[in-house]
Symmetry: C2
DNA sequence: ACTCTTTCGATACGACCCGTAGCGTAACTG
DNA sequence: CAGTTACGCTACGGGTCGTATCGAAAGAGT
């Protein structure tokens, strides 16, 4: 989205090191200053590059910050822990650990807030962050079906996947970012009990 | 937080009409422009007052916007609909309707994002918005216990109230603001089924 | 009526930031 | 070496924040 590949045959190549330095500087500045007080000049100074270099790669502040944030969520995974309950608790704690890092927390809230009145930014965030994490729900469901813990699909599972995703991500984000209370193993266990009990009741209809 | 009561014995009184005009203008500007592009000069112009008048009442932009937002959540209520399920569905839809208003949506996200790196603002928001809404959960629980739908408390119900609150508010906020999909009667019904089933399973332990 | 106190409107101001433009230089290619 | 592109640097216009200043207005008390 920043460096063109086609038509670039000669000339001084872009510094990949500068890319990393800029994104790191942007994340660091976002943590320390927040969205409003983050300035492009400051990011450039932290990265040790000129401000014009930032604008050669990203069109504006929003684009740069979103790119800096998107990479933070790539580390989420869903290792097979042997049972649906363990998988859910595992991903809840993993997600919570990510949100406990000030970088991720500040970045996510800032980006979501900015997207509230920017449709293009909203689409970009949904594609880069939200839809990507839904894979975790889909994968966990598939494993649980293979284990026989939940019944196989009858029809389109999209609605149920969306509901589960909103409940998990919503509850964790709300507790971590709005209520500002810890998402520890005890909370994860109680939350998982509610979620699995609820899904069992819902599928029994 | 703005008008002092002690020591104010004489002089020209503050215009209460200006207060309302400023808060209305701030909400309107927040909807149209978002946090980043909302300017104090613009709010002053919309309200028909001088910019200095804003700074005489609020220390800075954050304080003004938070005050403008806090009032939006006062309209939430929990009418008795006769059953726990109906009460939950009612408050979910009511909350969702509030979040569907661009004013509330933009304002909430902007304020939460701003609070991520501002401890004082965070405390203010929790006291003014979060803790206030927990009353809805406490009241709904009490009614359900009186009806015999859920067992009475054994010990401190704080943890369960907090969990329920995070699940309800988190799921609704996440669907409405992050997933950007509608919270309609169908979704509310399915969500309530999951929640009540989960609570029944949790209390059966 | 007169004074005192406080608020109000209007204007100007310094500081900061965004995003752009121009220029000379560095790095890489054929 | 010539051509092309990225880079650092500087400067700029436009906008905003928050403050300062000053005269006028609106009440309260005597």
């Amino acid at each position: 989205m920043c460096a063109r590949e086609t038509g670039r045959r000669t000339g001084r190549p872009r510094s990949a090191e500068a890319d990393r330095a800029i994104l790191d500087a942007a994340r660091q500045a976002l943590v320390e200053l927040g969205w409003g007080r983050l300035s492009m000049g400051d990011v450039a100074a932290r990265a040790g590059v000129a401000k014009t270099t930032l604008y050669r790669r990203w069109a504006n502040k929003n684009e740069l910050v979103v790119d800096a944030v998107a990479a933070l969520f790539d580390e989420l995974e869903l290792p097979d822990r042997g049972s649906l309950r363990a998988d859910v608790e595992g991903v809840v704690l993993q997600f919570a650990a990510l949100l406990e890092q000030p970088a991720t927390r500040t970045a996510l809230m800032a980006v979501v807030a900015e997207a509230t009145h920017d449709e293009a930014l909203r689409r970009r965030i949904r594609a880069a962050i939200v839809d990507r994490q839904k894979r975790l729900v889909i994968e966990g469901r598939r494993r649980a079906q293979e284990r026989g813990e939940i019944p196989p699909d009858d029809g389109d599972p999209t609605a149920q996947v969306d509901l589960i995703f909103d409940v998990i991500a919503g509850a964790v984000v709300h507790r971590a970012l709005v209520s500002c209370e810890p998402v520890d193993a005890d909370w994860a266990a109680r939350f998982t009990t509610v979620l699995l009990g609820g899904l069992a009741a819902a599928s029994a209809i």
